[in-house]
């Protein structure tokens, strides 16, 4: 009986999670869907055609989003990996303070710091550029990559590296051939979430990009403020694709029952 109740609970949770996607899928392929019909009376590919139109805005925006999120993922891991190594492997004075400082952008909204830094970015010529947008995307991503990688390094003892060093490997070679392959899955998860957090950013891009850097959420936002659910839903489905793909990938890296890894990941917004 307990088991059946658990399964019923799981079904309810799954249905609630799936609910917002139902109208998105239906509207994306709807031709005509008048109130109070429960299903569209006509189907159409208008929404899909809009998405893949050559010379349309969607392809360009997708490319911009991919570039910025890809660069952010790589940079935030490059910055978060050494920090994670230091925090996960060593004990030192002020460690608590360092962790607090690194986690601060999770508690204090990056919107405040980004508005503050905007003038400086304008002066340095970084405003209205994809590079400037990439830079401010590091603020919400680095805390997460650093903390995910901290937990990855905290679980390791460093014995293997010691063995390699005893056998005459340089510190760099020990890192490259022993440490890196072992932490690779954790690095991949961190990179995926760095990518996703950057991919989801709207207001930081809007502030620093100033309308010149058009990423997918820019198009989705203006569509959602308008009155065409077909286009809006099509865009929303494209926008959610990497999240789903990344989720499937991330889950493959995890051994069963090891949700703790994903946990640190927290909530890309």
């Amino acid at each position: 009986m307990g088991k059946r109740r658990t399964n019923a609970g799981l079904a309810v949770v799954a249905a609630l999670v799936a609910l917002p996607f139902v109208p998105l899928f239906l509207w994306a392929f709807a031709g005509e869907w008048r109130f109070p019909d429960l299903l569209p009376s006509e189907w159409s590919l208008r929404g899909i055609v809009y998405l893949v139109e050559p010379g349309g805005r969607v392809l360009g925006a997708t490319l911009t989003s991919l570039l910025i999120a890809g660069a952010t993922a790589i940079a935030s891991v490059a910055v978060g990996l050494p920090a994670g190594m230091a925090l996960g492997r060593y004990e030192f004075r002020l460690k608590g303070l360092v962790i607090f400082f690194i986690l601060l952008p999770i508690l204090v909204p990056p919107l405040a710091s980004t508005m503050g830094i905007h003038l400086t970015f304008i002066r340095l010529g970084l405003a209205d550029s994809a590079f400037g947008v990439f830079l401010v995307h590091l603020v919400p991503t680095v805390p997460y990559t650093a903390i995910i990688l901290t937990s990855v390094f905290a679980k390791r003892t460093g014995e293997l590296e010691e063995a390699a060093r005893t056998l005459g490997a340089s510190a760099w070679r020990a890192f490259l051939y022993v440490t890196l392959p072992q932490v690779a899955p954790g690095v991949a998860v961190a990179a995926l979430f760095g990518f996703l957090i950057s991919w989801s950013q709207y207001v930081l891009t809007l502030l620093i990009g100033g309308g010149n850097v058009v990423t997918l959420p820019m198009l989705l936002f203006s569509a959602a403020s308008g009155n065409d659910p077909v286009i809006t839903s099509g865009l929303a489905l494209v926008f959610v694709l990497p999240a789903i793909a990344a989720l499937l990938l991330a889950l493959r890296y995890l051994n069963s029952g090891d949700e703790r890894e994903l946990l640190g990941v927290g909530k890309p917004s």
Binding site: P20, L138, F239
Partner: protein, 283 residues
Amino acid sequence: MGGRLKITLLLTPALLVLGVLFTGGLYAALVQSLGYLPAIGMTGMSFDAYREVLGREDFLDALLLTVYVAGVSTALATVLAVLAALALRRGPGRVSSVVFQVPITVPHLVAAVGIALVISQTGLGARLAAALGLIGEPAEFPALLYDKYSVGVILTYVWKETPFIALVVLAGLRGVAAELEDVAKTLGANAWQRFWYVIFPVIAPGIVASSLIVFAFTFGAFEVPYLLGEDYPTMLPVMAYEEYRSIELSDRPVAMAINVLIALITAAFAAAYLRFARNLGRG
């Protein structure tokens, strides 16, 4: 072999990036909120912007709305998450973690758009109500978007954040000794007593940490209320943004003052909450 130096070098990139882009940005916001904007010829320093903001009725309305939305969203998400985690903890862990993972990875904008298409007056909910004969016209369905009670905003946050807290609680539940629960049961503890005295102390730290993150996030987030919230009052981040976008450059200090207040409130709340949680743990 130079452990101190090594640790410093390893930490430098992250501290530099966040120090410049985040702390530097907050510092710039603070300075600008005091009216120091040499770029437009403002070099005096004063608390005028704060005086103006704190005296404005729309700021107080925005503050109330923000506390209300963040508080209700966090409370609902926390309760639902604990219930869901308790219901699912004996189930297939992998399946529930995949299900919970979906809303966590889906961007807020997509969640907002999907929820809007469910609860709007021509949405799935209204169509279902019409099919059941409950309403005839879309206008008869309650307005849940751009409304006084921010139902759309709250529902979007609850959908997005509940699974995050639930995963933390699920992980915590694995630390609850099954034997202890059995003993409590044998000794005649009812379900509530078993939860409160055996389970809750174990999962409490996770609940505190995750709900704190959710509160701070919903307090300072912009997208969802900008899309689904009413025009007046707006939540604080939306208000800050709108002041910032104002053509009057002299409105900038006001926008920055709102930003600084958001940062201070979230930081103060975090500190108070953590202290409270620590005392709770001791008691």
